[in-house]
Each structure stands twice: as structure tokens, then as C-alpha cells.
């Protein structure tokens, strides 16, 4: 099995393949819990354990994919630019909503962490949970958090927004598509935005604008904590 242990291609095929299997399962079962990302993560962990490939080796082999996280995040400037043009009229409401949501994120995460008396390392790992991975893990790392915990918490937060966004919108009577877009993007970054974009084009546009702005605001707040 040393061939697989050393192989970058195996790690890449495993990663893309696990996601594809997750997508097929979700399509077939139509269960919201059968989230492709979640299925992919579980499958990969199982395969790595079975083949006795340790995480460090997997990360090294799959680094070609991970590398693109930064340039892909830079590309978010494209939807941001497109939407700023379209959304000029609603811009104040959108920006204030994102700011309020981001502050609520910091306050709620901090308060709950204190309530359970979690360590500071844990707390800083959880603080960037609502923003996109490329930004969140860097912030957590620079603040001395557990990068791995931040990464998984970000992914699961995204999945929660993706799965339960519609239910939450109903419970809280958020009906305006622009407001829903802000809620999706601010609370659950790229993964939630995927859902918003499926529901409505405008909502998807607002959501991607929100995830970018929420990321930037979070990065700025992190400079002061």
C-alpha cells in the first residue's frame, strides 16, 4: 500500500470522489442530512484509517487542492464587483445587516464559550466560525487557535445554514429576498450561499456579497482582539 501512501493523485481522486459519492447519495435520498461535504469528510477519514495513511501525509498529498483556497477566495472579488453594481440601492441595508450579524456572531460565540468556561485557545478557534475557510483558518492560526477545529466548525456551520436556512427564515419571518441573502451569507459563508443561489438568483448574489464583507469585517475585528 506504499504506492497509495505516497500518491498525490490517490489523495486527490479520493477527495473529489468522496464528494461526488456524497452528491449522488444526496440526490438519491434527498435527505438534507446527507450533505455531500459531510459525507466526503466521513468517507475520507474511514478510507485513510483503513489504509493506515496518517492525516499529515494526506494533507501533504492533497496540498495541490488546498493550495487553490487562497486564489479562489481572491476570485470572490468577481461576484462582489458584479453585485455592488446591481445592489447599489439596497447597499446600506445589506452592509448594516452584515455588520450586525458579524457582531452578533462574535458576541454569541464569546458568551457561550465563557458560559461553558472553554479555554482561550478553544474560543479563538470558534470565533471565526461563520466566515469562509480560507479566511477563518488563517485568523485562527494567527491568534493561536486549533486550525483543525476551526476548519471543521466552519464547514459544519456552513452545512447548518445550507440545511436549515429555509426553516430559520420561516421561524424568524425573514421573507425579503435581500434580507435572506444577507442572513445566508453572513451566517454560513460559501456553503450557505450555494443554497441561497439555488433558491433565487438575487438571494445568491446578496449572499456572496455578504460572505465576503463578513469575512473582511471579521478579519478587521480579529486585529483588535
Amino acid at each position: 500500500m506504499t504506492v497509495l501512501y505516497e500518491s498525490s493523485l490517490f489523495a486527490i481522486v479520493l477527495t473529489l470522489g468522496a464528494y461526488e459519492i456524497g452528491r449522488v447519495i444526496q440526490k438519491k435520498t434527498k435527505w438534507t442530512v446527507a450533505n455531500p461535504l459531510l459525507i466526503a469528510i466521513v468517507l475520507i477519514v474511514v478510507v485513510l484509517k483503513a489504509l493506515q495513511i496518517d492525516n499529515a501525509k494526506y494533507q501533504e498529498n492533497v496540498s495541490l487542492i488546498s493550495f487553490f483556497l487562497t486564489p479562489a477566495t481572491v476570485c470572490l472579488a468577481i461576484p462582489l464587483y458584479r453585485q455592488v453594481q446591481i445592489l447599489k440601492k439596497s447597499l446600506v441595508g445589506i452592509l448594516v445587516g452584515i455588520l450586525a450579524g458579524t457582531l452578533a456572531s462574535f458576541a454569541s460565540v464569546y458568551a457561550i464559550c465563557k458560559l461553558f468556561s472553554l479555554t482561550d485557545t478553544m474560543t479563538v478557534s470558534l470565533l471565526p466560525k461563520s466566515i469562509t475557510t480560507a479566511m477563518g483558518i488563517v485568523l485562527s492560526e494567527q491568534a493561536g487557535g486549533f486550525v483543525a477545529l476551526t476548519a471543521i466548525v466552519i464547514v459544519i456551520t456552513g452545512i447548518l445554514g445550507n440545511m436549515f436556512g429555509e426553516i430559520m427564515a420561516k421561524i424568524f419571518h425573514i421573507t425579503d429576498p435581500v434580507a435572506k441573502g444577507v442572513a445566508y451569507g453572513t451566517a454560513s459563508h460559501v456553503v450557505g450561499t450555494t443554497k441561497a443561489a439555488q433558491l433565487d438568483e438575487l438571494m445568491g448574489a446578496v449572499s456572496s456579497l455578504s460572505l465576503v464583507v463578513a469575512g473582511i469585517i471579521t478579519a478587521v475585528i480579529f486585529c483588535f482582539v
Partner: protein
């Protein structure tokens, strides 16, 4: 060779972002610098949207893929977090609900007053 040029432009902005992150003493990720500079370049027409959108849209479309590997690291820290599993789940669920509600409400309130 339009794709090569698009890819080059995106990589140049990523590189500038990385250099700024290394040179400036503020803890802002390279991706945020790159994103803001590219956005500014688009607004000032230094870069046209048609110069980057094909490769750019592709990279954004496959972005969820890039979330998988960092999350697999959970294997290594399972021991450290297993004891705090309940608080971590509470933080994730509660704060996601709170952020969703607050962000949605505030925008909806302002939008309705505007209309």
C-alpha cells in the same frame, strides 16, 4: 490562450496579497488583501471583468471541494476536542441561529423602511 492570461492575472493578485501579508504587521489573511485589491482594480477598470471571469467563476464553483481537506484534520485533534463536544455543538448551532436571525432582521427592517 485567454485562460492562461486570466489565470495569470488571478495569480498576480494572489501573490501581491501574500507579499502584503508577509510585509505588513497586521494579521489580515493574504486572500483578503488579494480580494480587496482585485475588487479595486475592477472598480477602477484597471482589470476588466471579462479578463478574469471564466477562470474566476470556475475557481469559485469548485471552492466547496477545497473545504474538505482542512476539515479532515479533525482526525488528529479528535482527542483534544472530544471532551468539549457538547459546548462546541451548542456554539455552532446557537450562534448560527443568532447570526442568521440578526443579519436577516436588520436588513429586512432597513429595506422595509426604504421602500
Amino acid at each position: 490562450m485567454k485562460y492562461v492570461r486570466e489565470f495569470l492575472i488571478i495569480m498576480i493578485f494572489t501573490l501581491i496579497g501574500e507579499l502584503l501579508q508577509k510585509l505588513l504587521p497586521i494579521p489580515i489573511p493574504a486572500s483578503v488583501y488579494g480580494l480587496l485589491l482585485l475588487f479595486l482594480a475592477l472598480c477602477t477598470k484597471v482589470v476588466k471583468i471579462s479578463d478574469i471571469e471564466k477562470v474566476g467563476d470556475f475557481m469559485i464553483a469548485i471552492m466547496p471541494m477545497m473545504f474538505i481537506a482542512p476539515a479532515v484534520k479533525i482526525m488528529d485533534i479528535w482527542g483534544d476536542i472530544a471532551g468539549n463536544l457538547i459546548p462546541i455543538i451548542v456554539v455552532m448551532v446557537l450562534s448560527t441561529i443568532i447570526v442568521f436571525a440578526v443579519a436577516g432582521w436588520v436588513t429586512q427592517w432597513i429595506e422595509r423602511r426604504r421602500k
